[in-house]
Subunit: 231 residues, 2 copies
């Protein structure tokens, strides 16, 4: 429909705005795109400055609009936050389903989990899930988010248990093992920076290795000999 001239920036993709900054350039575009632009900028700001220190004015300013305009797309500030959580949890759940389908033994599933999850932790909405403070949510919303997180934890534990059962993982306390792995992965969202030295894929691969193999030398691949001390 009559691209006019200046408007020819053109969406490469209907659902992902090229730059959230420009989504509000035209007065009448589709509301879905604008809503998404709000969400993306908000998520970005929440990660930069935390939810509490990000004012609605901050979000509006970065979008070149004024605060009340935001209330056309979201009921209130918490609504934006909750949506960030939901999107992030959706990303995680996707990967979980893929892994459960991906046949393989328990250890392989855990490895796949670590790899995928680490990758999600380098994506803004994914980072929001673990980095933002649940305490900023009202109790209803918090309960919802908690249930998502519990689900993730249960899945990871079941992968580990599967590995113990099929012999690919050495017996251990699954609860603590899961806490340990999930902790290492969750913490990624605290130090990762998009323009940093480490690429998401590097992180994911190295984490998968470190967490499954441990540090201890003495596996076949290493140049050491192991002498069992106590038959």
């Amino acid at each position: 429909m009559s691209i006019g001239n200046a408007r020819s920036v053109m969406p490469r993709d209907a659902t992902s705005s090229p730059s959230p900054r420009k989504a509000f350039a035209d007065r009448r575009r589709d509301p879905a795109t604008k809503r998404e632009a709000v969400l993306k900028t908000a998520a970005q700001l929440f990660l930069e400055k935390s939810y509490g220190r990000t004012s609605m004015n901050d979000v509006a300013e970065r979008l070149n609009i004024t605060k009340p305009a935001l209330y056309h797309y979201f009921d209130n500030k918490e609504d934006i936050l909750l949506e960030c959580y939901r999107l992030g949890c959706g990303l995680i759940e996707e990967t979980l389903n893929k892994i459960a389908a991906h046949c393989g033994n328990g250890l392989q599933k855990v490895e796949a989990f670590i790899h995928s999850y680490a990758t999600v932790m380098t994506v803004n909405f994914g980072r929001c899930v673990m980095r933002l403070d649940e305490g900023d949510l009202t109790s209803d919303a918090r309960a919802e988010v908690r249930s998502y997180k519990r689900k993730i934890d249960r899945r990871l534990r079941s992968f580990i248990q599967e590995g113990i059962d099929d012999g690919s993982i050495s017996p251990c306390d699954t609860k603590i093992a899961a806490f340990s792995i999930a902790g290492a992965l969750n913490w990624i969202c605290m130090w990762y920076e998009a323009d940093g030295a480490l690429s998401p894929d590097e992180i994911a691969s190295q984490f998968a290795r470190t967490l499954t193999q441990g540090l201890t030398a003495g596996k076949r691949s290493s140049k050491l000999r192991i002498v069992s001390k106590r038959s």
Copy 2:
């Protein structure tokens, strides 16, 4: 007032108040004890509700005093926060020094690190260091705290490197291995609860095992002797 005998609660220890709540019962006690009481309650509240959602009134209320009284012991809110960080960092540094002194190979040092650090993460001031948001500090204070944290990271990496050099740890990217271990440990302060099912010592021991041994089955578990090939 002037309860006379009620004062016989008596400090079992000069430096640790029995209950922060009662530190302000008498009008004239030593200011050091009261200052400490403020600090403890503040730390507790910061962990319960976050720094941002904890008002000076909240702190005062829990101590049965009024807000302005707090300003006799601290210049401002951030001053309290910074002191929490400093105390926590002090705890961590202590353990680091003990470990460096404690002779042993690299792997043993890393194991000791994991054990001690996990324990610190179950102590309020220790938890503050990693759980509270640096963004709440002014840039000067933030720089100070960051330098403490960098130091911790450097020490851990040096332990790992030492292990690689002496053959007790299989070669790996020390930076990512350190991130992985530190992440798992730091995350403890996000889920640990004092009255929970897991005791600090259980956590510490299990983490030391999981992180050093990994999940992979096939090595003899703990009772093995490693013979370094080099030298």
